[in-house]
């Protein structure tokens, strides 16, 4: 690991004027060596430490957001929406009574992320912004296209943990399990730039596919801070579920990850559905065919089966990851039924 300067800031204004780089642009280079002049922000520091230890990131200065009070806290707004500060830890998120009552899919996603120890320090902001865990991307010996290199090694290499959708030029899967649930809830992302300029974007628009930008997973701009995640108020009878399957039940990255949010009416009839697949594509994958399949229907075992089939209709597995299809199939089906029965 390189030597670097450590700066602690205590207000958002200080923080926005301190940082000059995103982690993504600090890692990108033609040579395969990370930039050495970057100034970057640190939230929980879990992913940052990994990247720096591996020599993939060598910042000159690290700005610690730990003491920025404005980024903490979970608040219910008068209109029923919920604002989650970006420095809220996954453990705090998972324990919050309001979230547990209304957004069980998100709580489950947070609870199934990483390990208990890591959830105590990892923040929701850092979780959404962490870099992918593709083993080529994480290897200094493989200068891949996402780091400014020429090629994606996964297409011809060992791709059992890679994408089955949307792998246009790069086959990473999005690393955040929480993102899967947040997309299903149509969350929005609040960002603050220099001079306190704020913007709010739909989470789906925040994440970038390789088509849009192959070197970064999201639209965070240099100098910008992810300040909060905004959860919309829910319709009367909204039910949700999340399921995740890793090879290990303990601390492991998922092979498949599914979040379902159903707006119900009159018993088992689904008004509107959100079905999102994680660990499936470079961004959380919204299975619109499955959503359309469910809309307006009474949910049955058969219906859940049909929705699962629809969700995977456009999957394009690589040489070594077609086994993910039956896993997703089972998880989508089970997740729909689990959400329905949660009522």
């Amino acid at each position: 690991m390189n030597s670097f300067e450590w700066v602690s800031v205590s207000s958002l204004a200080e923080a926005t004027s301190a940082a000059s780089d995103t982690v993504a642009n600090a890692m990108r280079s033609q040579s395969g060596q990370p930039k050495t002049e970057a100034i970057i922000l640190k939230a929980g520091g879990v992913d940052l430490l990994d990247l720096m230890k591996e020599g993939l990131l060598s910042p000159r200065r690290v700005i610690n957001l730990h003491s920025v009070a404005e980024l903490r806290g979970i608040v219910e707004e008068p209109n029923g929406s919920i604002r989650i500060g970006s420095m809220v830890t996954l453990a705090q998120l998972a324990e919050h009574p309001l979230l547990r009552a209304r957004y069980p899919a998100l709580v489950d996603a947070a609870n199934q992320s990483a390990s208990p120890q890591i959830r105590q320090v990892a923040t929701i902001g850092g979780n959404l912004l962490q870099r992918p865990h593709c083993w080529y991307f994480r290897s200094l010996d493989h200068h891949c296209v996402r780091k400014g290199g020429e090629a994606c090694f996964a297409f011809t290499g060992e791709n059992q943990y890679h994408a089955i959708f949307g792998h246009n030029g790069c086959a990473i899967v999005h690393p955040s399990t929480c993102a899967t649930a947040l997309v299903a809830f149509n969350a929005r992302i609040e960002l603050a730039g220099a001079q306190g300029r704020k913007r709010v974007v739909a989470i789906e628009d925040f994440f970038l596919s390789p088509d849009q930008d192959i070197e970064r997973e999201n639209d965070l701009k240099p100098g910008e801070i992810l300040t909060a995640v905004l959860l919309p108020a829910l319709k009367q009878d909204t039910r949700s579920a999340h399921m995740r399957q890793g090879e290990l039940e303990s601390f492991d990255w998922p092979l498949a990850d599914v979040a379902v949010v159903l707006e119900m009416r009159a018993g088992r009839v689904c008004e509107r559905a959100a079905v999102v697949l994680g660990a499936a594509a470079p961004v959380p994958y919204r299975a619109r065919e499955a959503e359309a399949f469910l809309a307006g229907k009474q949910i049955s075992d058969q219906g859940a089966r049909g929705a699962a089939r629809a969700a995977l209709a456009r999957a394009m597995p690589l040489g070594g990851n077609a086994y993910k299809l039956p896993i997703f199939d089972a998880l989508v089906r089970r997740c729909i039924l689990s959400a329905t029965n949660r009522g």
């Binding site: 030597s3 990994d50 865990h133 083993w135 080529y136 994480r138 290897s139 010996d141 493989h142 090694f153 996964a154 297409f155 011809t156 290499g157 060992e158 791709n159 059992q160 086959a171 399957q245 090879e247 290990l248 039940e249 303990s250 601390f251 492991d252 092979l255 498949a256 999957a315 394009m316 597995p317 690589l318 040489g319 070594g320 077609a322 086994y323 299809l325 039956p326 896993i327 199939d329 089972a330 998880l331």
Partner: protein, 791 residues
């Protein structure tokens, strides 16, 4: 001091508590009296807490990484980024000038791999070093800080000429594959210590047929049924929690090496030879350890580098491997492909076993599959053909029951399949073909505890999560190293010490030695100070081959017995009796009827000199060994194990969960059931992790290991842990002063096949490939679609 001559003694033998008989054994002079079964003893066989437990859980225990010597330098190794390359030039000039750097050197003659025959020519090509895998050592640096050492590595200029390479086992077998070695490899073949010369065609060294017997063609001709299968096992890495670590201190008066190792004495010999020093000038020391599993038996390249750097720099040098180095270059369990065919009569009697196997230990030899198929069951006709296949990957080495772990995965599934084909219960078939009385008893006790009789037909469970049960067996040599000794000292204040040049790699041998001495001297284990981990002490045993307890507890007991006789001689006159009438019990030295006596402390106060001591070496087993060659011997018994597993398989996701394992194991006289259980838990977890998760993965195009960390290399963790029940069979044979043998490796062998058989019982489909990941299970179930594949 010897007590009398060779004489006959009576020993209780058999399985306690059920079947004890008495037999007479001829015993050499100076051996302690026959030891009663555990039920009648005070400390031996009792669940005594580890003597180092508190230090370990409070962080007080000193590991090699905690050794900090004055002026100590930090060493780092430069490793090859290429899977195969010629080193055309090495330029150290910038590294040598780097601030804080004290020594830089090339590592030209790495060890721990297959050795090529010498080159015919003496041209420049022959002299050029070739690196053979990513992570192969190239050079070493020692500097005053770790950061300076790392920085210096980055300014070493290496001119590599990349060469064609091969990392895939099947690709390496092709006749036009890039050759890993240019010339034939010297040494013996897969798993063999010795034997006839073995052919070599490019990367394939073999087949070796040694171990074959009878005539398998005739055997198969007589068979009513034949079962065959091809089994594939992966590369597993040791994953010691404590990394390989060394601090080498070269001084004019001699070399001291602090090293995390399973064999301080062996490392001393190796280093003495490598650096031209007499044994008397090399001292190897180890404190607490966090695992070895076979990967710390020898002085690897990093140890030699630390010594050479220390000699050059004139200061102590510390090298600690990081996790990536651990995964790339500290050894591994070789991958295997085993084609096995077994023929049997309708009643189960085996007529023939044919085993054709190849595997890869990277650039090393040793991909053999042990002696499981060869010896677990009665079968007159056995043929074996084993080959090593070289690939450009880090060398394999011993790993917990080497060969036998993959070997059992194949044989025990075939036997399971045979039982089904014959319409027999797998336990009934084994009762028919397994002559070993230990395992027969273990099957009986294990089946009862497990509830084997509730077993259902394969695939009988309805629903998507199917439960199943399976059983598998193991055998392992009752190994002994005769170059093993202990010294017991009694000091004038009544304190007691035991010295032995062995090491505790986490197994608890130190605690066992304290129990043995306490039992013999009538004291408590806490009264005994255990001094191990230093080659200055009497020659200890290797912590390998599951031999330490078998090698050291008899001499520990005999040394205690002999020094106690000396104490009896000294105090007998004061008690007005003869030494022969005294006993040591409950902290007292007294007449057997306890009429007259004194405390142990009062007795010790009568010593004429400040201390008395006795040294005992490991005598041969009473009645002799089954095999002995140099210091290595094995007893006239095999250690048996039977494990039962219950799994739940989700046939929609392919996830296998092991819910319960019952293990019945034998290690002769159990010395400390708590530590034995702990060992068996470790063996089962390692076996479970091997069965379901672990798999070193190399990119076939770049030659790089992609999971050289504990994030991408999957290993069982807390939530993968099943309910484990351990049945320890007390098996007395009266063959040494303690009758104790090993447990570490035996407990690791039967787990994977027991799980595989349980998976079959759950889903009705045989899985012959490890690890049994969702991808493997779903493929076996035919549930993976073949549409729209790209890439």
């Amino acid at each position: 001091m010897a007590a009398g001559n060779e004489h006959d003694q009576r020993y209780a033998v058999g399985f306690d508590p059920s079947a004890l008989a008495e037999i007479e054994r001829r015993v050499p002079a100076g051996e302690a009296a026959p030891l009663a079964p555990n039920a009648k003893l005070t400390w031996i066989g009792k669940p005594v807490a580890r003597i180092d437990g508190r230090a370990k859980v409070t962080g007080a225990a000193q590991f090699t990484v905690d050794v900090k010597l004055p002026g100590m330098l930090y060493g780092r190794l430069l490793r090859s980024p290429h899977p195969h390359a010629r080193v055309l030039a090495l330029d150290f000039s910038a590294a040598a000038r780097y601030p804080g750097v004290r020594a830089v050197l090339a590592l030209d003659e790495p060890v721990g791999r297959a050795v090529e025959a010498p080159a015919d020519s003496s041209g420049p090509e022959a002299a050029q070093r070739r690196v053979l895998y990513v992570g192969d050592v190239v050079a070493g640096v020692a500097a005053i800080t770790p950061a300076a050492a790392d920085a210096a590595l980055r300014v070493i200029k290496v001119d590599y000429q990349p060469l064609p390479f091969v990392v895939d086992l099947e690709a390496a077998r092709q006749s036009d594959a890039p050759a890993v070695f240019q010339r034939p490899v010297q040494a013996y073949a897969a798993g063999m210590q010795s034997g006839p010369p073995v052919p070599q065609q490019r990367n394939v060294r073999g087949p070796n047929h040694s171990g074959s017997r009878g005539n398998v063609e005739e055997g198969f001709a007589q068979a009513d049924v034949a079962i065959e299968g091809e089994f594939r096992t992966q590369v597993q890495t040791h994953c010691c929690l404590e990394a390989h670590a060394v601090v080498a201190d070269w001084r004019p008066e001699g070399l001291t090496v602090h090293l995390s190792t399973q064999y301080i004495a062996g490392v001393r010999s190796e280093l003495a030879q490598a650096f031209g020093l007499p044994l008397s000038r090399v001292r190897v020391v180890v404190g607490a350890m966090g695992g070895g599993f076979g990967s710390k038996l020898v002085a690897g390249n990093y140890v030699r580098a630390a010594v050479a750097l220390s000699r050059r720099a004139g200061a102590p040098v510390r090298i600690v491997l990081d996790r990536r180095e651990e995964q790339l270059d500290s050894g591994n369990r070789p991958a295997t492909v085993q084609k096995m065919r077994v023929g049997a009569k309708r009643d189960g009697a085996l007529c023939a076993i044919a085993l054709d196997t190849y595997g890869t230990a990277g650039v090393a030899l040793g991909a053999g599959v042990g002696f499981v198929a060869q010896g677990l069951y009665t079968c007159e006709n056995f043929s074996i053909a084993q080959s090593d296949v070289f690939i450009n990957a880090g060398p394999g080495c011993s790993m917990r029951a080497p060969g036998n772990v993959p070997g059992a995965f194949a044989l025990e599934q075939i036997i399971d399949e045979l039982a089904e084909t014959l319409g027999m219960d797998p336990l009934t078939l084994r009762d028919r073909i397994d002559p070993n009385p230990v395992r027969r008893e273990e099957r009986r006790r294990g089946a009862e505890r497990f509830g084997w009789s509730r077993r259902q037909p394969p695939g009988a469970d309805p629903g998507s999560v199917k439960r199943g049960v399976g059983v598998a067996q193991s055998h392992w040599g009752a190994n002994v190293r005769t170059n093993s000794s202990c010294e017991v000292r009694i000091l004038r204040d009544g304190s007691v010490e035991i010295f032995s040049g062995t090491q505790d790699i986490g197994t608890g041998i130190g605690t066992v030695l304290a129990q043995v001495v306490a039992e013999e001297l009538g004291l408590r284990p806490a009264d005994i100070v255990v001094r191990i981990g230093d080659t200055d002490f009497p020659a200890g045993a290797v912590s390998g081959g599951s031999s330490a307890t078998a090698s050291l507890t008899p001499p520990a007991r005999n040394a205690a017995y002999r020094v106690l006789r000396e104490l009896f001689e000294i105090v007998a006159p004061a008690l007005g009796t003869s030494p022969e009438s005294l006993v040591a019990r409950d902290g007292r030295i007294a007449l057997a009827d306890n009429r007259r006596g004194m405390t142990f402390r009062e007795a010790a106060a009568q010593l004429r000199t400040e201390r008395i001591s006795a040294v005992a070496g490991r005598s041969d087993d009473y009645g002799g060994f089954a095999q002995k060659s140099g210091d290595r011997a094995s007893a006239q018994r095999m250690l048996g194990g039977v494990q039962f597993a219950q799994v739940a398989v989700d046939v929609e996701t392919g996830i296998v969960r092991v819910e319960r394992v019952v293990a019945a194991q034998d290690c002769g006289r159990p010395m400390n059931p708590r530590q034995i259980e702990s060992q068996v838990h470790g063996g089962i977890l390692m076996g479970l992790s091997y069965a379901l998760y672990e798999n070193r993965t190399i990119d076939r195009h770049t030659g790089h290991v992609l999971n050289a960390d504990l994030e991408h290399y999957k290993i069982a963790r807390s939530r993968e842990t099943p309910a484990i029940e351990v049945i320890i069979l007390e098996n007395y044979q009266g063959t040494s002063a303690t009758d104790a043998y090993g447990i570490a490796e035996p407990s690791n062998i039967a787990t994977a096949p027991a799980i595989a058989n349980a998976v079959y019982n759950a889903i009705g489909v045989r899985v012959r490939q490890l690890p049994m990941t969702p991808a493997t299970i779903l493929a076996a179930l035919g549930r993976i679609p073949t549409r729209s594949v790209r890439g």
